[in-house]
Amino acid sequence: MRIRHKAKRSLLIAICALALPLQTGCWSKDEIEDQSIYVGMGLDPASETKLEKTFRKEGDDYRKRKLLTYTLQIINVQSESQHGGGQAPVSEKPYFNISETGDSMFQLIREFSARMERPVIGHHLKVIVINEKLSRKYSMNELLDFFLRDNEIRPSCLVLISKGSARGTMVAKDNSIIPSFRLTGLVDNRYRSLKILEPMTLSKLEGKIYGKQSYLLQNVISAEGEVKFSGGAVIKGKTQKLQGLLTEEETIGCVWLTGKGQGGLVKSYHEDNHQPIVYEVKSMKSKIDAKVAGDEISFHVSIKSKGRLTEEWLNNNEPIDPAFKKQAEAGSQKEVRRLTNLALKKLQKQYGTDVLGFGKQLSIQHPRKWEKIKDRWEEMFPEIPITVSIDMEITEYGAKITR
């Protein structure tokens, strides 16, 4: 009996000892200092960098089609740690960009493993900027497939279109700025400007790509290391390619029609002396009513907004009277009508794409009708009558007295 007990005990000890190697911690650990974290990515039509050309001369070649060049923005760990520690001005940029030309995104990313000692990881990718020319040529599902499949990249990653070079948006003049963070940070300013569209993340895009829906992406322009969110890019549902760009005014018109703006302003000019009156948007709402009468489909958009009179160049510092209020409201409404007309005209007559969700509203309000026409919706869209009613009310006048 005792011998059996002993044998049992030594067996237990042996098992415990064997289990120990399993307790040593993370199996496939990667130290964060040994990784290159990329936070932004720009996709451009193929244009090899000088370095790449030199590399090629030296014999860097493999079978690939030169379809696109992409730029990876990597956080410079060394400079970041300096930045945190010392008070001295930063001499080094907190990021660096590297580019590769080829076709498969995944292959291009893995190319860096042959170039840099720290492998690149995508857990913190914040933004993908796609060059306008590229997205006219290739569909969103082609360009983004890798990002949607990859297990490191998060679906919360933002997608933007750039009118000029996408690489250009990945550059900053100032040494304290990380360009990718600047782009994602701009989205947070939606409550201050109507020029900033609702952010389109990979997760939202995926549904739209699969459902072959049309949508708007934010357009960003860049020059000399500065960027600006300027206008929108229209992606056509069926092809998932870029159909065309919207100007800043047309984009604001779209924001009014969807009622998804969080804040901003409307500047109008006084009818008589052409001095500016500025209405600051405190709230905006829009309701799209789909009307079906037999075969006729039409929409009515009612926009409601409340705001504050923030600036006017007219009154000689005297209190505002009700007549002026009426005039200011009417002026602002006229301006919004101008913007929404611009937007609708471009979207219906020129691009023929429904990016504002009229089809979606029809499907919600008249699901049976929608089932019948959904396949030819975008062909019908340019001819659909859309009326807009605008109701804007000034409820505040700032710190100045009113009568």
Partner: protein, 374 residues
């Protein structure tokens, strides 16, 4: 506990309270399925109304659960393994028992395999299957050797935590929620919703353990209450899940994802809190749920062997381990895993959807005949 006694095979045997039984049922039901449920239901329904289908599926499950509970009440102190032979005779009983043992063993293996697939994709890329599987199996065995009482007490700890964290994370999805994704409500009528009910009711498999658990209850008469409460908790969680995921990702976005629930949690970041990313919280509780589903299934598979072939429970638990380990490795690719899941569901449909009704009718008929004779 007063009911503690050493049974054959050395496992401590305690009588379970009604709440404990409900908790075991809930924990068993909540498992691998929750990450893919929004996709699976949206695939079948095809409209944003998938959540209604889940609701109906849950009601179907409650009806089936009550039937099983009634059946078990007729044979106090006995598990299904023991009493099924009395109803259908030893020949059919010899078929029914092993099928159920296999069903539970396959379920256990399926849970572990799902764990490996998800954690291998998103958490532990590069950790080999044997490492994840064997650790999981051994820890599970350790728990099971403590008997049903130990299992129940652990589950009582896990469930409130699961509910709290899970609802917290899914409701955070409101940051990217868009009600338009869930509209139109019943745009294509009720028919698509009904088409999905078969699939969604399969998401509730797990309540069938009531036909085994009743035998260990302190108050077997309350087993209807236990099974209803046990199904109600997952029902709420499932509806919230499907509602939030489709609301956040839209039907089209849900259809393209292997694990839409996980992707929903990956689609938003909240700054200003201690954490910005919340999918890891979701994964932690998901792994706990997989663990509870695995141990329950494994335990009842072993129990079947023990009761049908008169072996010690301990021997069965140890003996089953290598088979489940091999079973885990059988599906060769992810698609096979999903197929295995479908098959387990189909078997469950017949085993627990159809057979209990037949058995209940036979039982009632016999007892009425018996009553007439005396």
């Amino acid at each position: 506990m007063s009911g503690t006694q050493q049974a054959k095979g050395g496992l401590p045997q305690e009588k379970l309270t009604t709440i404990q039984v409900a908790v075991i049922i809930s924990n068993f039901m909540l498992g691998s399925g929750i990450l893919s449920l929004p996709r699976v239901s949206a695939e079948k329904v095809g409209t944003p109304d998938a959540w209604i289908s889940v609701l109906l599926g849950g009601l179907v499950a409650i009806v089936a659960g009550v039937i099983m509970a009634l059946l078990s009440q007729a044979y106090p102190g006995q598990t299904f393994y023991e009493y099924s032979r009395k109803i259908v005779g030893s020949w059919l009983g010899h078929l029914l028992g092993p099928v159920m043992i296999l069903y539970f063993a396959a379920t256990a293996a399926f849970q572990v395999r799902s764990l490996f697939e998800v954690s291998g994709f998103i958490l532990l890329e590069g950790t080999p299957q044997w490492a994840i599987t064997s650790v999981f199996l051994w820890v599970g065995l350790y728990l099971m050797l403590g008997g049903l009482g130990a299992i129940a007490r652990l589950f009582e700890l896990i469930l409130p935590l699961t509910i709290f964290i899970y609802l917290l994370v899914t409701l955070m999805g409101f940051t990217i929620f868009d009600l338009d994704n869930l509209r139109p409500l019943l745009g294509q009528g009720i028919w698509p919703v009904l088409k999905g009910v078969q699939t969604t009711s399969l998401a509730f498999t797990g309540f069938e353990v009531i036909i085994l658990l009743t035998a260990y209850m302190k108050n077997p008469n309350k087993n209807i209450k236990a099974v209803t409460a046990g199904i109600a908790i997952p029902l709420v969680i499932y509806i919230v899940t499907v509602f939030m995921v489709i609301g956040a990702l839209s039907v089209d976005g849900t259809l393209t994802k292997n694990w839409p629930t996980l992707d929903m949690a990956r689609s938003f970041e909240l700054s200003g809190l201690i954490f910005e990313r919340f999918e890891f919280l979701l994964l932690i509780i998901w792994i706990m749920q997989i663990f509870s589903s695995f141990t329950t299934a494994f335990y009842f598979s072993a129990l079947g062997i023990s009761q049908l072939y008169k072996r010690k429970m301990k021997t069965c638990l140890y003996g089953l381990l290598p088979f489940v380990y091999i079973f885990v490795a059988v599906p060769r690719k992810l698609d096979d895993v999903f197929t295995l899941g479908d098959w387990i569901g189909k078997v469950a449909l017949y085993l627990f959807g159809v057979i209990p009704i037949v058995l209940l009718i036979v039982t009632k008929w016999r007892s009425s005949k018996h009553a007439n004779q005396t």
